[in-house]
Point group: C2
Chain length 341, copies 2
């Protein structure tokens, strides 16, 4: 059985709306101009009649796929889901969809995903995977692929990026500990290859000096990864070293959790024996034993702003790279107290 092809007019008639409204409702890019109920009605009508505009064909014509490639290191790291939600919620308002993949901080894996997404003709990328030196990102920027970095950035080239002021995060942490009376403050830094790890490390050293404390080299150790396991390993090394300390600023919350694990193992009490400050404010820290004092970074907001930058870039491809720096915030909970209490 063959039937005449269903037209936009047929869809509009069935939905009881003007053809223009139907057209806007069916086009992902203009859908947000129609109220959701009407859009749903139009799409149901299109569905009932078997009408489906072909955006792949439209993609060939306008060179737009209305998709954005999003790469994160690991979605099961609780830092990333709220960033991704910020991205998706913002994309949805303009009818875009996110293609998502995990790199596990593995350059080969990342390049595979990146190329696969390019071959799917995504219109742009949002990458939460940046390392300070990052050949893939550098190459792509040179090749004019629209890219916005989020949470971490590159040093080697000028990029669009939305990050938190990580130097300031460390300043907030150290100042809090200093004001509690701590002078022997250790730092378990994140990996230096990430802008977050490096900026927090510099923020630590600079703030120690600013408040009049001498940063002690034996009390600064870099964790091999931003993970609970590596945090634990590094905290053990710190304990085995000869330096004495009463407080630790951990490079992120997962590293702080690693410190908790070792303290539980060895019978140390937090905060009585050692105060701990994390960084990021991932979910459920308020329910830990003890609740973790940390620096809250605006995860969701970073996702939103990065998406706005991507959409601006698509509209004005010649815009100049810009780094948006968002403000962190100290959240005092139960893992910090004056020393020797």
């Amino acid at each position: 059985m063959t039937t005449a092809p269903v037209t936009l007019k047929d869809v509009a008639r069935r939905a009881g709306v003007h053809t223009g409204t139907a057209s806007r409702a069916l086009n992902p890019q203009t859908r947000s101009l129609v109220n959701p109920e009407t859009a749903t009605k139009v799409m149901r009508a299109a569905d009932d009649l078997g009408y489906r505009p072909n955006p792949i064909a439209r993609g060939l014509k306008t060179n737009r796929s209305f998709t954005i490639g999003v790469l994160v290191p690991d979605l099961t790291n609780p830092l990333f889901p709220p960033i991704v939600r910020g991205i998706e919620d913002t994309l949805a308002t303009v009818g875009y969809t996110a293609l998502l993949a995990n790199s596990d901080n593995d350059p080969d894996k990342e390049r595979l995903h990146f190329e696969t997404m390019r071959s799917r003709q995504v219109d742009a990328f949002i990458l939460a995977t940046a390392q300070r030196d990052h050949p893939l990102i550098e190459d792509a920027i040179v090749a004019d692929v629209p890219i916005v970095l989020v949470n971490r950035t590159v040093e080697s080239t000028r990029a669009f990026a939305v990050i938190t002021d990580d130097h300031r995060s460390a300043e907030l942490a150290v100042t809090h500990l200093f004001e509690l009376g701590h002078t022997k403050i250790a730092h378990i830094a994140g990996p230096e290859r990430f802008s977050t790890g490096k900026a927090r490390y510099h923020g630590f050293v600079d703030t120690m000096k600013k408040v009049g404390l001498k940063p002690d080299r034996t009390l600064i150790r870099a964790s091999r990864a931003f993970t609970e396991r590596e945090g634990a390993t590094t905290f053990r090394k710190l304990l085995d070293g000869k330096g004495e300390f009463t407080a630790v600023f951990a490079g992120n919350d997962l590293i702080a959790l690693g410190c908790y694990d070792v303290m539980t193992e060895t019978g140390m009490r937090c905060p009585e024996d050692v105060s701990i400050v994390g960084c990021n404010d991932i979910p459920f820290l308020d329910k830990l034993r003890p609740p973790l004092t940390t620096i809250k970074i605006p995860h969701y907001e970073m996702g939103v702003r990065a998406t706005q930058l991507v959409l601006e870039q698509l509209q004005s491809p010649s815009a100049e790279p810009v780094t948006v720096l968002l403000e962190p915030e100290l959240v005092v909970r139960g893992s910090t107290c004056p020393p020797g209490r």
Copy 2:
């Protein structure tokens, strides 16, 4: 400046591989047949030369987009990231990519995302959003859209689904509490509109009877949502009711966290005053105060199996719907102890 179009042969020559290898490496569907290093080399060569196969044009020809639409209620609910990783890791092995969106359990929002993804011509869907009665899913199954449900399923129609044996989860929880000596056991059920909420509720009632306890209607309350806030509200109602209880089986971990909040507020001690068992085993429960006893469901594995089912369905569109039931597991931590201790 115009140049002759770059051919597959040029790419193969530059990468130092056979044309067949280059072709397999550049095709997402066959890429897994080539070792990752070679695939990366070929894609770099293609990139250097400006060669890019056009899968959108190929999509028109073969009617495949090599993308799968994935809908979850809310990525920031810690239950979903490991499921999504299981999906993406499995898709990546066959060169597929996931389009991801959040429904917030809002049918209109879900339909918008679903239709947007269909208009992007995804090859199939994996939905973690199922309600027991679910018009969108029912319609789509009737219309032969390849769909696999994960974590939750529908009742109203025959669907491909990968879920945990939720009835068994409740059985494990109640049996654990009974063996500790509890006889006054309350249940804060999840919403009945979800298969998980309903099956766990029935598992609770059936197991109470099986061990010889009479389920007390005043001790069974349904939470309006699987959230910490609704869990707290419902636990307060339970406390305000006249029924006495020494233990609670919470419909999921977030509801259990709501119980924790109210116990902290009111000065009740867990587990001394009331034992709590959660369900799902989301991350970091081992670090709560007290560590939460719960039922571990195989999140990642559900994602993997759902993806395998999708890929099988794409190969054999006439396959019969099947529900894969995975086994939960009791994880005893610090939130349960004998009553009156």
